[in-house]
Symmetry: C2
Subunit: 147 residues, 2 copies
Amino acid sequence: MSKLDKQSGKKPDKQLDRKVDKMKQDYSIRELAKEFDVTTRTLRFYEEKGLLNPSRSGQTRVYTMADRTRLKLILRGKRLGLSLDESAEIILMYDPVGTNSKQILSLIDKIQDKRLQLEQQQKDLELTLLDLEAAEQRCSESLSRIH
Amino acid sequence: MSKLDKQSGKKPDKQLDRKVDKMKQDYSIRELAKEFDVTTRTLRFYEEKGLLNPSRSGQTRVYTMADRTRLKLILRGKRLGLSLDESAEIILMYDPVGTNSKQILSLIDKIQDKRLQLEQQQKDLELTLLDLEAAEQRCSESLSRIH
DNA sequence: AATTACGTTTACGTTAACGTCAACTTTAAA
DNA sequence: TTTAAAGTTGACGTTAACGTAAACGTAATT
């Protein structure tokens, strides 16, 4: 029996289970933490910062698919070296917050800025990879000379 | 008159100026800071951490071309989201520190690790760029609908 | 002689992103 | 019913990467 069942009740409800298992809907804080290899403290912290906002069942947090997705984006951002605020900004870019054309235009500007920054990162990445390849090459040559 | 001239003396020394301007050799802390848009505090901090080690003229720091290069690499690392320690590690990978094959093999391992990490970053970068492009697209469509 | 410009060291302050208790509640199991 | 497991909210601690300020030296300019 899955943890989800544990949460929603003891005996699985056949009525609801019929076609609704198309995708896991809700997650406990532990589940999510485990899946993404972060601590629960981290998840609470992200919530405190407004990056996640799970609903509550009593006072217990219940994470939805949307939260999971945002968490994924945050962690992706981290791997890129972005700060939480930067990731938050980017996530906001993904869904249309502004409704009037002035806001949309400003959003487009911000998107362009980020793109430029990320493209610079791409260049830096490639340079670094090239350097590493060269270093590896030299190592190999050293080895063959030793042998 | 360049700052270099200021440093070496008031009147440019014809003797030394003859062919020695093939490349700027030394930099004051201000020059380097200005060129890379960091503060002098930052340069001293990097030195404290062992990332740079300028020679001294009296107690005044004199940065060489080697320092400049390392600084460049450090800042490149920063743009990738690397910590100073990580950048330091990478820089160490660039020149052969170990002489025996065991050390070299371990270095190769570390290089591979970094490469894997950076390649993961590349993937994340591309995904993020794709997301941003899509977001930009949606913005444009919103605009055209408004118009 | 006094100011200005650049350099130095020492040391405390700051922000981000959590870690690490502590003290407590609620639910599930033995 | 006691215990164990997972949840909660504070609140203080920690590390990295500098910022900022104090107190001082030196050298050139006014």
